[in-house]
C-alpha cells in the first residue's frame, strides 16, 4: 500500500492548478499532472524546470543552416560548377544570395523535425509505446495530480488530506 502512487482526481483546471500550487509549496514533489488539454500556469504551479527544447531547436536549426551551406557548395560550386544567374563566377561567396533560400528552408525543416522528434523521444512516444495514462477520464474532462508518497517527507494521510482540502473529487491508488 505504501509504495502505491496517489492519483488525486479534479474536475476543474483552475482547482487543479491551485491544488498543485498548494502541495508544491508545502514541499511535496508532484510527479506529473494528466490533463485533456494544456493547462495554463500548471508548469509554474508545480515548479517544473524550464523546457530546454529551445536549445534543441537552435542546435537543429544551426545544423540545417550549415548542412545547406555545405550542400549548395558541394553541389553547385565543387562537384558540378553552375553558372548562377548568368554570373559564371563559380565562387560560393559571390553566389551566396541564391543559396540563402535553400539555407533558410533547411533551417526550418531541420529545426521543426528535430524539435518534434526530440519531443517524441524524450516523452517516450514511439510507435508501439504503451499507454501510460492511469485513468482514461483524463482524456475527457478530468485532471489528475500524481504523487509518489514514498519519496515525500510528509505522511501519506497528510498528503491525501491536503489534496482533498484543495478540492479533489476522489483519490485513487495505483502502481
Amino acid at each position: 500500500m505504501s509504495s502505491k502512487l496517489i492519483y488525486a482526481v479534479y474536475d476543474d483546471p483552475d482547482t487543479t492548478v491551485e491544488a498543485g500550487r498548494i502541495v508544491t509549496d508545502a514541499g511535496i514533489k508532484v510527479n506529473t499532472v494528466y490533463s485533456p488539454f494544456p493547462v495554463h500556469g500548471i508548469d509554474d504551479a508545480i515548479k517544473l524546470p524550464r523546457t530546454r527544447i529551445s536549445v534543441a531547436a537552435f542546435l537543429f536549426g544551426a545544423m540545417g543552416t550549415s548542412f545547406a551551406a555545405w550542400m549548395t557548395w558541394y553541389m553547385l560550386i565543387y562537384d558540378w560548377p553552375m553558372n548562377v544567374g548568368g554570373k559564371p563566377s563559380f565562387s560560393f561567396a559571390e553566389n551566396f544570395p541564391s543559396f540563402v533560400p535553400v539555407m533558410f528552408e533547411l533551417t526550418i525543416l531541420l529545426g521543426a523535425h528535430g524539435m518534434i522528434w526530440t519531443f517524441f523521444f524524450i516523452s517516450g512516444i514511439l510507435p508501439g509505446a504503451k499507454n501510460k495514462n492511469p485513468d482514461p477520464r483524463t482524456t475527457d474532462d478530468k485532471f489528475i495530480i500524481e504523487i509518489d508518497p514514498s519519496k515525500q517527507a510528509q505522511k501519506e494521510d497528510e498528503i491525501i488530506g491536503m489534496l482533498k482540502n484543495a478540492g479533489a473529487i476522489e483519490i485513487n491508488r495505483g502502481e
Binding site: H40, G41, S54, F58, V84, G85, G86, K87, P97, S98, V100, P101
Partner: protein, 392 residues
Amino acid sequence: MKYEFSGKLKIASIAATVIGLVLILVSFFIYGDNITRVWANLLVTSFFFTGVAVAGIFFVAVNLVGEGGWYTVFKRIPEAMSTFLPFGMFFLLIVVVAGMLGAHDIYKWMNPEIVAQDELIQGKSGYLNNTFFLIRFAFYAAIWIGFAFMLRKMSLRDDMLGTYEHYIKSRNRAATFLVLFAVTSSTSAWDFIMSVDVHWFSTLFGWYTFAGYFVSAIAIMLVIVLHLKRNGFMPTVNMSHIQDLGKFLFAFSIFWTYLYFSQFLLIWYADMPEEIVYYIERYDTSYRPWVLVMVVLNLVLPLLVLMTRDSKRNATTLTIISLLVVAGHYMDLFQMVMPGAVGEKWGWSFPEIGALLFFAGLFTFVVLNTLTKAAVEPAKGTFLEESKHHAI
C-alpha cells in the same frame, strides 16, 4: 496615474530640437552648393518619424480588429506616438513644396527641364506630377491624422464608458483604417521614397518601407514602456507584455529582412540594367560600409540577441537593442534616399546630425507631452482585465 514629463528629459528633448534646428539652418548656409543634401536629410528624418507615428495607429488598429486584449494596459503609448503625425507631415509637406518650387532636386520629376528631356519620366508623368502628388498628400494627411485622432479619442472615451458596444464601434473604425492604410502605406512609400530614384521601381517597395518603420515603432514603443515602467507609471505592465513586445521586435526584424532580401535577390539574380543600377549605386560606391552596418543592426543583432527568453525579459538588453534597431532603420531609410538624391556627395556632419537631433527631440517632446494629458493606464475597457493578467 498621469505621466510626469520630468525636467531632465524635457530639457534634453527641447535642447535637441533647438540644437537640431540651429544645425539645419547653419547647414543651409554652409552647404549652399549642395543644398539638396540638407533637404534630403529633412526628407529622411521627417518621413522616418511620420512612419513611426502612423505605425503607432496601425498597431492599435490591428489589435482592435484582431480583438487582441494583451496590449490594453500600454495602449496609450502607441496612441501618443500617433499624435506626432501632424508635425511629421507638416515638415514632409515643406520638403515636398520646396521641391516643387525648385529649392532642391531630390525629386527629378518635379523639374520640368529634366522631364522634357526624359522619355521615361514622361511616361510616368500621369502619376508623378505636382498636382496629383499634392492631392495624394492631402489624402494621406486626412486619413492618417483623422484616424489617429479619432481612434485616440474613442480610446479615451472607453475610459469612461468601457462598454462592449463602444469597443465594437472603435473596432469597425479601425477596420476601415486598415483597408485604407493597406493602399496608402504602399503608395506613400512610392511617392516619398521610391520616386527619388525615378527611373527605378520595385513592386514590394511599399511593404519594405512599411516593415522598416513598423519595426522602429515597436522598438520605440518598447523603449517608452520600459522607461515608464522603470519610473513606476505602469504598475500593471508585467514581464509578459515586455517579452511579447520583444517577440514583435524579433519577428518583424526578420520580416523586414525577408522583404529587403526578396527585393534584392530577384534584382540581383535577373541582373537587368534598369533594375540592378539601384544596387550598384549602393553596393559598389562609398555607401557599401553604411549598407553592411545597416544589415548587421537590423538583422544579425536582433536575431542573435533577442532569440533567448532571458534577453527578452531584461530591460537593459531590450533598451539597447531597441535603440540600435531604430538607428539601423534610420540608416536603412538614409540609404534608400541619399544615393538617388545626392549620389556620392553625401557625408555625416551638420545636416545629418541636425535633422536627426531636431526630429528625435521633437518626437520625444510631442509623444511624452501627449502622455501627460491622460492617465497612462486605462480605467475601463473590454479587455482591460485580460490584459492585466496577461501571462505567457
